[in-house]
Amino acid sequence: MNAIQYDLMTALPEILVLCMAMFILLLDLFLKPSNRFLIYVFAQLTLLGAAVLTLATHVPAVGYAFNGLFVDDPLADVLKLGVYLSTSITLIYTRQYVALRGMFRGEFYALILFSTLGMMIMVSGQHFLTLYMGLELLSLCLYALVALDRDNPNSTEAAMKYFVLGALASGMLLYGMSMLYGVTGSLNISGVADALLSGAPDHGVLVLGLVFIVAGLAFKLGAAPFQMWVPDVYHGAPTAITLFIGSATKIAAFAMVIRLLVQALFVLAVDWQGMLVIMAVMSMIIGNIAAIAQTNIKRMLAYSTISHVGFLLLGFLSASLNGYASATFYILSYVLMTLAGFGMILLLSRKGFEADRLEDLKGLNQRSPWYAFLMLIIMFSMAGIPPTLGFYAKFTVLQSALQAGFVTLVIFAVLMALIGAFYYLRVVKYMYFDEPEDHSPIVAPVDMKLVLSINAIGLLILGMLPQRLMDVCAYAIIHSIQ
């Protein structure tokens, strides 16, 4: 196999998604509205095909392609599978929602696939330019997706905010990258790491560059003090898009943190640890305390995301393989919880009714004990109460931070988790302790009901048997990061 063949083989899933996205864009022009369902099927098949290709080309070793622009390591494969799975679940949950709101069009699916492609490139980026390209591909699609419901002023406003702040963040990231390039003379991640290892050229400029990189990443992750866009975008965007922004894209942002901070700038770990501590603390404070005051579930979950990001950052603090593995475990658990949480809002929504206020959950236990039970699991999982997946997620990051000696920080984190528990309990309170105001039946396609049930019950089962998922995360990290 010559180099070109190897390169193409390595990027086969990306190539597939790219071709299919363009195909869907074209196909949409020739389809009668009654046959639009085909697009949905094609999008799902694309994700399935990409998953098969990723699994088929998987080797437990690191492989570089396109002259070191692109990397295929076990971490990339695991995270990509996470992206496919969450995107696929997103499509299942959102089908009815977008159909009822006139968004069931080719653009929606093409944009989702293009953003998936962007995420895949981010996950596999081994070069600052590749990473940046993936990020921009993702971001531009997301701006468009947020504004997709164009007659809705809230969505338009959210898209505008997202665009302005997102562009600013991208700019910061790029600026930081350019400084690193200036000092190390390389844009390649391994190249930067090697240059830093062979003696730090100019520490001052490096740290300045690092600050910009960390700020850019914090923007994308939604960590405080760069969290301002999160509540507005989560709230303003159509719930279907919020679901997508809240789940799959976090995996890609996580991958970027690993690539940039851990793989390229490991030598500066002492410097970024300090920044991450501050961001983690601020995210946990802002996320948990501001969430208490929210009356809108989407906004509440946005703040909950911010606090989850704070916990996620704890995993990086130890700068050890154990820590990264626990962070990977956290991000995957978080994505599963978010999918289920927003999936529940989508389930309760119907034409002309968003079901996004906390009051809309009132008396859900009387309307449907099963879905109330599922939401109960989701909320307790987000709060980190055993026996749910959320508990082990918090447990793994806390133990890694404690291992690195951050005792005060860990105690602070658990106190913040306590505050966080309050607003999740409030959701349970609305569902179980209040009488319903709305008695309309819950209508949803069978596949959505089924997947949502599996998703939520999965949180419970993974909470009792977390070993498999932990193994996968540890495997991905150990075989990818030297």
Binding site: P369, I385, V407, M470
Partner: protein, 495 residues
């Protein structure tokens, strides 16, 4: 000895039964849910009986052990085992569940299946707490117990239930989270979550003190000790009768038990070092809370404060570090389990008829409910520590133990015999005796056969253990001596 995994069965039979009850669905099948729950609770009680029958009384260590690998990444095991302290509490749990199911029979009319299922599931989880020998397994059971209790108080509770249940949840969670940090710390020291491993591990005094404080936060809230007791009166008052019974009879014992299982053997030097503080807090609970109980207008609140005061005896007994005190404390835990259940059930009987818990709304109940009053007076006497009831044995042993340590401890502790009698009997006088004050009381009907059965069973147990407490003391004896022996040897690392 049989080969059956008795502890696993004790945990999972009620949980599975609870899930089955949940499957009966809406209130259309309420009577099916009731009978299924009753069957489940009887089965749950039956599977715990071998723990007593096959127990090796001479062995102070862990018996009926089960150990399976669970989460190898963190060396977490599904490790169960019980000693002489855990077995009586497990039996108490499964028995109380049966009582609670019976007590909610006609009283609970809405969402019956969920009510019954909550208690069955909670019962399995609490037995899990009493039998887990792996710190994370224990922690999972400990926290998981909050979820059904949160729902029970919140769904079937009184008017201020939301406030009470959220307070209950957050208060308990606060302590537990710090305990989790302590567990993770111990894990990094020993690379294990095995509790018995922690017993052997040497630890510096300042580390022991920190660990002890973390455990203290978790357990003191649960017991509850003064000054972190304030959630209990709220939770008790708002909870439905069944919820109050489980809270008082078992949930509080989780805290007491955990002191013996974790705080004391893992940090023995810190326990000795801080015993003065612990005894002071216990005595404040015994005396001050008893005085608070004296002025309560609400019967449930009065019993709640009385519980705190009695649990003060338990912690006092723990930190005397002598066999009398410790055995007395354990007997007190069991006996309080029966007496407080009975007291809450009695209030429940009145509340179901009058929908009021205010002492002032009653008076002269004896005229309309003579049988019931006989029971109520018996339980009140037991609560006050009358000789011949189980309430006396525990208090007497603890006071004897206290005399050996310090006369003034014993003196202050024994004031409870006066205060306890005062607040209980004064309530009895105002509620049950005197003239019939209003027409509602005049219209009361005496207890039915179901209520008679429940109260009768509890009365037999209260009297039985009062006259013949040996089954408990024999069972705990070997474990208590082993624990005290362990506590006597220092765990400080030798330099």
């Amino acid at each position: 000895m049989t080969d059956l995994p008795i502890l696993s069965l004790s945990i999972w039979v009620p949980i599975v039964a609870g899930l089955l009850v949940l499957c009966t669905g809406s209130d259309k099948n309420a009577s099916l849910a009731r009978w299924l729950a009753l069957a489940g609770s009887i089965a749950g009680f039956a599977v715990t009986l071998p723990l007593y029958l096959d127990f090796d009384f001479a062995n102070g260590g862990f018996q009926f052990q089960e150990r399976l690998q669970w989460v190898p990444a963190f060396n977490i095991y599904y490790h169960l085992g019980v000693d002489g302290i855990a077995v009586p509490l497990i039996l108490l749990t499964s028995f109380t569940t049966f009582i609670v199911v019976l007590a909610g029979w006609e009283v609970i009319q809405k969402r019956v299946a969920q009510y019954m299922a909550s208690f069955l599931i909670m019962s399995g989880i609490m037995i899990g707490v009493f039998s887990a020998l792996d710190a994370i397994l224990y922690y999972i059971f400990w926290e998981a117990m909050l979820i059904p209790m949160f729902l029970v108080i919140g769904i079937w509770g009184g008017p201020n239930r939301v406030y009470a249940t959220i307070k209950f949840f957050l208060y308990t969670l606060l302590g537990s989270l710090l305990m989790l940090v302590a567990f993770i710390y111990l894990y990094h020291q020993s690379n294990s979550f095995d509790i018995t491993e922690y017993y052997r591990m040497p630890l510096d005094l300042h580390v022991q003190v920190l660990i002890f404080i973390a455990f203290f936060m978790a357990f003191a809230v649960k017991i509850p000790m003064w000054p972190v007791h304030t959630w209990l009166p709220d939770a008790h008052v708002e909870a439905p009768t069944g919820g109050s019974v489980v809270l008082a009879a078992i949930a509080l014992k989780l805290g007491g038990y955990s002191f013996l299982r974790f705080a004391m053997p893992i940090a023995p030097d810190a326990s000795h070092y801080l015993s003065g503080v612990m005894i002071t807090l216990s005595l404040i609970a015994v005396v001050y809370i008893a005085l608070v109980a004296l002025v309560q207008q609400d019967m449930k609140k009065l019993i709640a404060y009385s519980s705190i005061s009695h649990m003060g005896f338990v912690t006092l007994g723990f930190f005397l570090f002598n066999p009398l005190g410790l055995e007395g404390a354990i007997v007190q835990m069991i006996s309080h389990g029966f007496i407080s259940s009975a007291m809450f059930l009695s209030v429940g009987v009145l509340y179901d008829r009058m929908h009021s818990r205010q002492i002032a709304d009653y008076g002269g109940v004896v005229n309309t409910m003579p049988t019931f009053t006989a029971f109520a007076v018996l339980f009140a006497m037991a609560n006050a520590g009358l000789p011949g009831t189980s309430g006396f044995v525990g208090e007497f042993l603890v006071i004897l133990g206290a005399v050996q340590v310090n006369f003034w401890y014993a003196f202050l502790a024994s004031t409870t015999l006066i205060f306890g009698a005062a607040y209980t009997l004064w309530m009895i006088k105002r509620v049950y005796y005197g003239e019939v004050t209003n027409t509602h009381v005049a219209a009361l009907t005496d207890i039915n056969r179901r209520e008679f059965l429940i109260l009768g069973l509890l009365a037999i147990l209260v009297l039985g253990f009062g006259i013949y407490p040996q089954p408990i003391t024999e069972m705990t004896h070997a474990t208590v001596s082993q624990l005290l022996e362990h506590m006597a040897s220092s765990k400080l690392p030798t330099l």
